[in-house]
Amino acid sequence: MSQLTDEELMRKVQGGYMVEGPEDMTEGYRKALRVQLTVQADTELMSAPSYWMAARHAPSTNTQVSAHAIIQDELAHANIAYRLLEDIGESKERLVYGRQPYEFKHPYGFDQPLDNWAELVVATGFFDRAGITLLSDVHENTSYAPLKRALVKIGMEETFHLRHGEVWMRRLAKAGGEARELVQRAVDWMFPMTIEWFGLPDDMKRHSGQLDFKLKGLTNDQLRQVWMASTVPLCEELGLDAPAHWDEDKSEYVLDYPFPCQYDAVEKHWAFDEGEISWDAVFERWKKRGPMNEIYVESVQRSRLDVQRWLTA
Protein backbone atom coordinates (compact mmCIF):
# COMPACT_ATOMS: atom_id res chain seq x y z
CA MET A 1 0.00 0.00 0.00
CA SER A 2 1.23 3.49 -0.86
CA GLN A 3 2.34 5.95 1.84
CA LEU A 4 0.59 8.81 0.02
CA THR A 5 -2.67 10.40 1.18
CA ASP A 6 -5.70 10.15 -1.10
CA GLU A 7 -5.29 13.82 -2.01
CA GLU A 8 -1.63 13.35 -2.93
CA LEU A 9 -2.43 10.36 -5.12
CA MET A 10 -5.28 12.26 -6.76
CA ARG A 11 -2.88 15.05 -7.68
CA LYS A 12 -0.34 12.58 -9.04
CA VAL A 13 -2.81 10.68 -11.24
CA GLN A 14 -4.28 13.93 -12.52
CA GLY A 15 -0.72 14.73 -13.60
CA GLY A 16 -0.46 11.49 -15.59
CA TYR A 17 0.95 9.03 -13.03
CA MET A 18 -0.03 5.44 -13.81
CA VAL A 19 -0.81 3.02 -10.99
CA GLU A 20 0.63 -0.46 -11.60
CA GLY A 21 -0.55 -2.43 -8.56
CA PRO A 22 -1.68 -2.42 -4.93
CA GLU A 23 1.77 -1.19 -3.88
CA ASP A 24 1.00 2.14 -5.57
CA MET A 25 -2.53 2.59 -4.18
CA THR A 26 -4.08 4.33 -1.22
CA GLU A 27 -6.99 2.61 0.50
CA GLY A 28 -9.36 5.18 -1.01
CA TYR A 29 -8.10 4.45 -4.51
CA ARG A 30 -8.33 0.70 -3.99
CA LYS A 31 -11.92 0.96 -2.79
CA ALA A 32 -13.02 3.14 -5.70
CA LEU A 33 -11.30 0.80 -8.17
CA ARG A 34 -12.83 -2.24 -6.49
CA VAL A 35 -16.34 -0.84 -6.87
CA GLN A 36 -15.74 0.04 -10.52
CA LEU A 37 -14.20 -3.32 -11.43
CA THR A 38 -16.91 -5.26 -9.60
CA VAL A 39 -19.64 -3.55 -11.59
CA GLN A 40 -17.67 -4.14 -14.80
CA ALA A 41 -17.01 -7.83 -14.04
CA ASP A 42 -20.55 -8.59 -12.87
CA THR A 43 -22.02 -6.85 -15.91
CA GLU A 44 -19.92 -8.87 -18.35
CA LEU A 45 -20.62 -12.08 -16.45
CA MET A 46 -24.40 -11.66 -16.26
CA SER A 47 -24.69 -10.66 -19.90
CA ALA A 48 -23.61 -14.24 -20.71
CA PRO A 49 -26.64 -16.12 -19.29
CA SER A 50 -28.92 -13.40 -20.51
CA TYR A 51 -27.62 -13.73 -24.09
CA TRP A 52 -27.37 -17.50 -23.85
CA MET A 53 -31.05 -18.01 -23.01
CA ALA A 54 -31.96 -16.31 -26.29
CA ALA A 55 -29.04 -17.79 -28.24
CA ARG A 56 -30.26 -21.36 -27.72
CA HIS A 57 -33.26 -20.67 -29.90
CA ALA A 58 -31.59 -18.43 -32.47
CA PRO A 59 -33.05 -19.18 -35.92
CA SER A 60 -30.07 -20.93 -37.58
CA THR A 61 -26.65 -22.46 -37.09
CA ASN A 62 -24.96 -19.25 -38.17
CA THR A 63 -26.92 -17.05 -35.78
CA GLN A 64 -26.23 -19.48 -32.95
CA VAL A 65 -22.54 -19.32 -33.83
CA SER A 66 -22.38 -15.53 -33.77
CA ALA A 67 -24.32 -15.41 -30.50
CA HIS A 68 -21.87 -17.85 -28.93
CA ALA A 69 -18.92 -15.83 -30.18
CA ILE A 70 -20.37 -12.91 -28.24
CA ILE A 71 -21.00 -15.05 -25.15
CA GLN A 72 -17.42 -16.35 -25.33
CA ASP A 73 -16.13 -12.76 -25.40
CA GLU A 74 -18.34 -11.66 -22.51
CA LEU A 75 -17.18 -14.54 -20.31
CA ALA A 76 -13.56 -13.82 -21.19
CA HIS A 77 -14.03 -10.13 -20.37
CA ALA A 78 -15.69 -11.00 -17.07
CA ASN A 79 -12.80 -13.30 -16.22
CA ILE A 80 -10.27 -10.60 -16.98
CA ALA A 81 -12.06 -8.15 -14.70
CA TYR A 82 -12.29 -10.70 -11.85
CA ARG A 83 -8.59 -11.46 -12.28
CA LEU A 84 -7.86 -7.74 -11.98
CA LEU A 85 -9.90 -7.73 -8.77
CA GLU A 86 -7.89 -10.66 -7.48
CA ASP A 87 -4.72 -8.65 -8.07
CA ILE A 88 -5.98 -5.96 -5.71
CA GLY A 89 -6.78 -8.40 -2.95
CA GLU A 90 -10.30 -9.62 -3.74
CA SER A 91 -11.15 -13.29 -4.23
CA LYS A 92 -12.38 -14.27 -7.69
CA GLU A 93 -13.65 -17.49 -6.16
CA ARG A 94 -15.82 -15.66 -3.64
CA LEU A 95 -16.97 -13.02 -6.10
CA VAL A 96 -18.12 -15.49 -8.75
CA TYR A 97 -19.15 -18.53 -6.76
CA GLY A 98 -19.59 -17.31 -3.18
CA ARG A 99 -22.16 -14.53 -3.54
CA GLN A 100 -25.94 -14.61 -3.43
CA PRO A 101 -27.73 -13.49 -6.61
CA TYR A 102 -28.85 -10.18 -5.09
CA GLU A 103 -25.24 -9.30 -4.20
CA PHE A 104 -24.12 -9.00 -7.83
CA LYS A 105 -23.68 -5.42 -9.03
CA HIS A 106 -24.71 -5.65 -12.69
CA PRO A 107 -27.38 -3.37 -14.14
CA TYR A 108 -31.06 -4.21 -13.88
CA GLY A 109 -31.17 -4.78 -17.65
CA PHE A 110 -29.27 -8.05 -17.23
CA ASP A 111 -31.88 -9.35 -14.79
CA GLN A 112 -34.43 -9.45 -17.62
CA PRO A 113 -35.30 -12.34 -19.91
CA LEU A 114 -34.42 -12.02 -23.60
CA ASP A 115 -37.28 -13.85 -25.28
CA ASN A 116 -36.28 -14.04 -28.94
CA TRP A 117 -33.58 -13.39 -31.50
CA ALA A 118 -34.78 -9.81 -32.06
CA GLU A 119 -34.27 -9.04 -28.38
CA LEU A 120 -30.79 -10.56 -28.45
CA VAL A 121 -29.96 -8.47 -31.50
CA VAL A 122 -31.14 -5.24 -29.90
CA ALA A 123 -29.33 -6.20 -26.69
CA THR A 124 -26.04 -6.42 -28.59
CA GLY A 125 -26.91 -3.17 -30.33
CA PHE A 126 -27.98 -1.25 -27.20
CA PHE A 127 -26.54 -2.91 -24.10
CA ASP A 128 -23.16 -3.64 -25.61
CA ARG A 129 -23.04 -0.10 -26.92
CA ALA A 130 -23.65 1.12 -23.38
CA GLY A 131 -20.86 -1.18 -22.23
CA ILE A 132 -18.45 0.12 -24.83
CA THR A 133 -19.43 3.73 -24.12
CA LEU A 134 -18.50 3.21 -20.46
CA LEU A 135 -15.38 1.19 -21.14
CA SER A 136 -14.01 3.42 -23.92
CA ASP A 137 -14.14 6.29 -21.46
CA VAL A 138 -12.32 4.17 -18.88
CA HIS A 139 -9.77 3.07 -21.48
CA GLU A 140 -9.01 6.65 -22.46
CA ASN A 141 -8.88 8.05 -18.97
CA THR A 142 -8.05 5.41 -16.40
CA SER A 143 -4.98 5.83 -14.21
CA TYR A 144 -4.91 2.06 -13.54
CA ALA A 145 -2.44 0.65 -16.06
CA PRO A 146 -3.41 -3.05 -15.89
CA LEU A 147 -7.02 -2.12 -16.69
CA LYS A 148 -5.99 0.17 -19.53
CA ARG A 149 -4.01 -2.68 -21.10
CA ALA A 150 -6.83 -5.19 -20.63
CA LEU A 151 -9.31 -2.86 -22.29
CA VAL A 152 -7.50 -2.99 -25.64
CA LYS A 153 -8.80 -6.53 -26.14
CA ILE A 154 -12.21 -5.76 -24.75
CA GLY A 155 -12.65 -2.73 -27.01
CA MET A 156 -11.74 -4.72 -30.12
CA GLU A 157 -14.28 -7.39 -29.35
CA GLU A 158 -17.13 -5.16 -28.25
CA THR A 159 -16.99 -3.38 -31.60
CA PHE A 160 -17.78 -6.72 -33.23
CA HIS A 161 -20.82 -7.02 -30.97
CA LEU A 162 -21.97 -3.56 -32.00
CA ARG A 163 -21.70 -4.33 -35.66
CA HIS A 164 -23.52 -7.59 -35.07
CA GLY A 165 -26.33 -5.70 -33.35
CA GLU A 166 -26.51 -3.06 -36.06
CA VAL A 167 -26.39 -5.44 -39.00
CA TRP A 168 -29.10 -7.64 -37.54
CA MET A 169 -31.31 -4.76 -36.47
CA ARG A 170 -31.08 -3.55 -40.06
CA ARG A 171 -31.85 -6.98 -41.52
CA LEU A 172 -34.86 -7.57 -39.30
CA ALA A 173 -36.19 -4.04 -39.76
CA LYS A 174 -35.86 -4.41 -43.53
CA ALA A 175 -37.56 -7.81 -43.52
CA GLY A 176 -40.75 -6.13 -42.29
CA GLY A 177 -43.73 -8.00 -40.87
CA GLU A 178 -43.28 -9.92 -37.66
CA ALA A 179 -39.49 -9.48 -37.68
CA ARG A 180 -39.81 -5.71 -37.75
CA GLU A 181 -42.51 -5.71 -35.10
CA LEU A 182 -40.38 -7.77 -32.74
CA VAL A 183 -37.42 -5.41 -33.18
CA GLN A 184 -39.60 -2.40 -32.46
CA ARG A 185 -40.99 -4.08 -29.37
CA ALA A 186 -37.45 -4.83 -28.19
CA VAL A 187 -36.44 -1.21 -28.78
CA ASP A 188 -39.48 -0.06 -26.79
CA TRP A 189 -38.34 -1.66 -23.57
CA MET A 190 -34.57 -1.74 -24.09
CA PHE A 191 -34.03 1.91 -24.98
CA PRO A 192 -35.28 3.28 -21.64
CA MET A 193 -33.60 0.33 -19.91
CA THR A 194 -30.21 1.45 -21.25
CA ILE A 195 -30.85 5.12 -20.49
CA GLU A 196 -31.51 4.17 -16.86
CA TRP A 197 -28.38 1.99 -16.81
CA PHE A 198 -26.13 5.10 -16.85
CA GLY A 199 -27.47 5.95 -13.39
CA LEU A 200 -28.22 9.10 -11.44
CA PRO A 201 -28.21 12.43 -13.26
CA ASP A 202 -25.14 14.56 -12.53
CA ASP A 203 -26.97 17.06 -10.34
CA MET A 204 -27.93 14.26 -7.92
CA LYS A 205 -24.78 12.17 -8.15
CA ARG A 206 -23.03 11.31 -4.91
CA HIS A 207 -19.29 11.77 -4.85
CA SER A 208 -17.51 8.46 -5.51
CA GLY A 209 -13.90 9.45 -6.14
CA GLN A 210 -13.89 7.77 -9.55
CA LEU A 211 -13.36 11.05 -11.36
CA ASP A 212 -10.85 12.39 -8.80
CA PHE A 213 -8.75 9.24 -8.98
CA LYS A 214 -9.04 9.30 -12.77
CA LEU A 215 -10.75 5.94 -12.95
CA LYS A 216 -13.09 7.44 -15.53
CA GLY A 217 -13.35 10.68 -17.42
CA LEU A 218 -16.97 11.41 -18.26
CA THR A 219 -19.99 11.95 -16.02
CA ASN A 220 -23.19 9.88 -16.15
CA ASP A 221 -25.07 12.50 -18.17
CA GLN A 222 -22.19 12.88 -20.62
CA LEU A 223 -22.06 9.11 -21.12
CA ARG A 224 -25.82 9.00 -21.69
CA GLN A 225 -25.39 11.64 -24.39
CA VAL A 226 -22.58 9.68 -26.07
CA TRP A 227 -24.77 6.59 -26.16
CA MET A 228 -27.76 8.44 -27.59
CA ALA A 229 -25.58 10.17 -30.19
CA SER A 230 -25.02 6.83 -31.90
CA THR A 231 -28.20 4.99 -30.99
CA VAL A 232 -30.85 7.57 -31.87
CA PRO A 233 -29.55 8.17 -35.43
CA LEU A 234 -29.36 4.40 -35.98
CA CYS A 235 -32.99 3.96 -34.97
CA GLU A 236 -34.02 6.89 -37.14
CA GLU A 237 -32.18 5.44 -40.12
CA LEU A 238 -33.94 2.11 -39.66
CA GLY A 239 -37.33 3.77 -39.20
CA LEU A 240 -37.61 2.49 -35.63
CA ASP A 241 -39.23 4.67 -32.98
CA ALA A 242 -36.91 5.58 -30.14
CA PRO A 243 -38.21 7.91 -27.42
CA ALA A 244 -35.55 10.64 -27.77
CA HIS A 245 -34.61 13.38 -30.23
CA TRP A 246 -31.92 15.97 -30.94
CA ASP A 247 -32.75 19.37 -29.47
CA GLU A 248 -31.22 22.20 -31.52
CA ASP A 249 -31.58 24.83 -28.79
CA LYS A 250 -30.05 22.77 -26.03
CA SER A 251 -27.63 21.18 -28.48
CA GLU A 252 -28.11 17.78 -26.91
CA TYR A 253 -30.37 14.73 -27.06
CA VAL A 254 -33.49 14.95 -24.93
CA LEU A 255 -35.81 12.18 -23.85
CA ASP A 256 -39.45 12.17 -24.93
CA TYR A 257 -40.68 10.52 -21.75
CA PRO A 258 -40.59 11.19 -18.02
CA PHE A 259 -37.22 10.07 -16.64
CA PRO A 260 -36.90 8.09 -14.49
CA CYS A 261 -40.14 6.18 -14.68
CA GLN A 262 -41.61 2.90 -13.49
CA TYR A 263 -41.11 -0.44 -15.26
CA ASP A 264 -43.32 -3.50 -15.30
CA ALA A 265 -40.87 -6.37 -15.75
CA VAL A 266 -43.58 -8.94 -16.41
CA GLU A 267 -45.19 -6.98 -19.24
CA LYS A 268 -41.85 -5.46 -20.33
CA HIS A 269 -43.58 -2.11 -20.25
CA TRP A 270 -42.42 1.36 -19.18
CA ALA A 271 -45.22 3.37 -17.54
CA PHE A 272 -44.59 6.62 -19.44
CA ASP A 273 -48.16 7.73 -18.71
CA GLU A 274 -47.74 7.44 -14.95
CA GLY A 275 -45.13 10.18 -15.00
CA GLU A 276 -41.79 10.71 -13.36
CA ILE A 277 -40.87 8.77 -10.23
CA SER A 278 -38.14 9.38 -7.66
CA TRP A 279 -34.69 7.81 -7.95
CA ASP A 280 -35.36 6.20 -4.58
CA ALA A 281 -38.18 4.28 -6.26
CA VAL A 282 -35.76 3.25 -9.01
CA PHE A 283 -33.19 2.05 -6.48
CA GLU A 284 -35.89 0.08 -4.73
CA ARG A 285 -36.82 -1.67 -7.99
CA TRP A 286 -33.15 -2.39 -8.72
CA LYS A 287 -32.64 -3.75 -5.21
CA LYS A 288 -35.49 -6.20 -5.64
CA ARG A 289 -33.73 -7.38 -8.82
CA GLY A 290 -35.43 -8.46 -12.01
CA PRO A 291 -37.19 -11.74 -12.78
CA MET A 292 -34.14 -13.67 -14.05
CA ASN A 293 -31.61 -12.67 -11.38
CA GLU A 294 -31.59 -15.95 -9.46
CA ILE A 295 -31.83 -18.14 -12.53
CA TYR A 296 -28.91 -16.39 -14.25
CA VAL A 297 -26.64 -16.49 -11.22
CA GLU A 298 -27.51 -20.11 -10.50
CA SER A 299 -26.76 -21.03 -14.12
CA VAL A 300 -23.23 -19.66 -13.75
CA GLN A 301 -22.55 -21.20 -10.35
CA ARG A 302 -24.17 -24.59 -10.80
CA SER A 303 -21.28 -27.03 -11.18
CA ARG A 304 -18.35 -25.27 -9.50
CA LEU A 305 -19.18 -26.48 -6.00
CA ASP A 306 -19.71 -30.10 -7.09
CA VAL A 307 -16.51 -30.24 -9.08
CA GLN A 308 -14.60 -28.58 -6.28
CA ARG A 309 -15.90 -31.14 -3.81
CA TRP A 310 -14.88 -33.95 -6.17
CA LEU A 311 -11.40 -32.63 -6.68
CA THR A 312 -10.57 -31.98 -3.05
CA ALA A 313 -12.08 -35.20 -1.72
Binding site: N79, R83, A150, T312
Partner: protein, 75 residues
Protein backbone atom coordinates in the same frame (compact mmCIF):
# COMPACT_ATOMS: atom_id res chain seq x y z
CA UNK B 1 -9.97 -26.68 -6.70
CA UNK B 2 -6.22 -26.04 -6.80
CA UNK B 3 -5.50 -23.77 -9.73
CA UNK B 4 -2.38 -21.84 -10.65
CA UNK B 5 -2.00 -18.57 -12.49
CA UNK B 6 -0.51 -18.80 -15.97
CA UNK B 7 0.67 -15.68 -17.78
CA UNK B 8 -0.08 -15.48 -21.50
CA UNK B 9 2.42 -14.16 -24.05
CA UNK B 10 1.80 -13.57 -27.73
CA UNK B 11 3.51 -12.41 -30.91
CA UNK B 12 1.24 -10.73 -33.44
CA UNK B 13 3.24 -11.48 -36.53
CA UNK B 14 6.75 -12.40 -37.62
CA UNK B 15 9.25 -9.83 -36.44
CA UNK B 16 7.12 -8.59 -33.55
CA UNK B 17 7.99 -8.68 -29.89
CA UNK B 18 6.54 -11.31 -27.64
CA UNK B 19 4.16 -9.39 -25.39
CA UNK B 20 2.29 -10.09 -22.20
CA UNK B 21 -1.47 -10.05 -22.92
CA UNK B 22 -3.03 -11.47 -19.78
CA UNK B 23 -3.41 -14.52 -17.61
CA UNK B 24 -5.70 -17.44 -16.80
CA UNK B 25 -6.25 -19.84 -13.90
CA UNK B 26 -5.85 -23.53 -14.66
CA UNK B 27 -5.08 -26.76 -12.86
CA UNK B 28 -2.48 -27.96 -15.34
CA UNK B 29 -0.43 -26.94 -18.37
CA UNK B 30 -2.74 -28.55 -20.94
CA UNK B 31 -5.89 -26.78 -19.81
CA UNK B 32 -3.93 -23.53 -19.35
CA UNK B 33 -3.03 -23.65 -23.05
CA UNK B 34 -6.64 -24.21 -24.12
CA UNK B 35 -7.98 -21.52 -21.78
CA UNK B 36 -5.39 -19.02 -22.99
CA UNK B 37 -6.11 -19.78 -26.65
CA UNK B 38 -9.86 -19.38 -26.27
CA UNK B 39 -9.75 -16.41 -23.87
CA UNK B 40 -7.26 -14.23 -25.75
CA UNK B 41 -8.75 -14.79 -29.18
CA UNK B 42 -8.95 -11.11 -30.17
CA UNK B 43 -6.12 -11.39 -32.71
CA UNK B 44 -4.97 -14.12 -35.09
CA UNK B 45 -1.75 -14.56 -33.15
CA UNK B 46 1.31 -15.77 -34.98
CA UNK B 47 2.55 -17.27 -31.71
CA UNK B 48 1.18 -17.78 -28.22
CA UNK B 49 2.68 -19.35 -25.11
CA UNK B 50 1.87 -19.63 -21.42
CA UNK B 51 4.16 -19.53 -18.39
CA UNK B 52 3.23 -20.56 -14.90
CA UNK B 53 3.58 -17.36 -12.94
CA UNK B 54 5.78 -18.88 -10.24
CA UNK B 55 8.33 -19.48 -12.97
CA UNK B 56 8.62 -15.79 -13.79
CA UNK B 57 11.48 -14.60 -11.60
CA UNK B 58 11.51 -10.92 -10.65
CA UNK B 59 14.90 -9.32 -11.20
CA UNK B 60 14.89 -5.78 -9.89
CA UNK B 61 11.60 -5.21 -8.06
CA UNK B 62 10.73 -6.18 -4.52
CA UNK B 63 6.98 -5.70 -4.99
CA UNK B 64 4.34 -6.43 -7.62
CA UNK B 65 2.53 -9.51 -8.94
CA UNK B 66 5.53 -11.62 -9.82
CA UNK B 67 7.11 -11.14 -6.39
CA UNK B 68 3.84 -12.15 -4.75
CA UNK B 69 3.70 -15.27 -6.92
CA UNK B 70 7.13 -16.25 -5.59
CA UNK B 71 6.01 -15.71 -2.01
CA UNK B 72 2.85 -17.76 -2.45
CA UNK B 73 4.73 -20.64 -4.08
CA UNK B 74 6.50 -21.46 -0.83
CA UNK B 75 3.46 -22.86 0.99
Amino acid sequence: MRESVYDVFTRKERGDRLQHVGYVDAFDDETAKVYAWTTYSEEKWFEMCVVKRVNVLPVNRTDGLFVEAQDSSHD
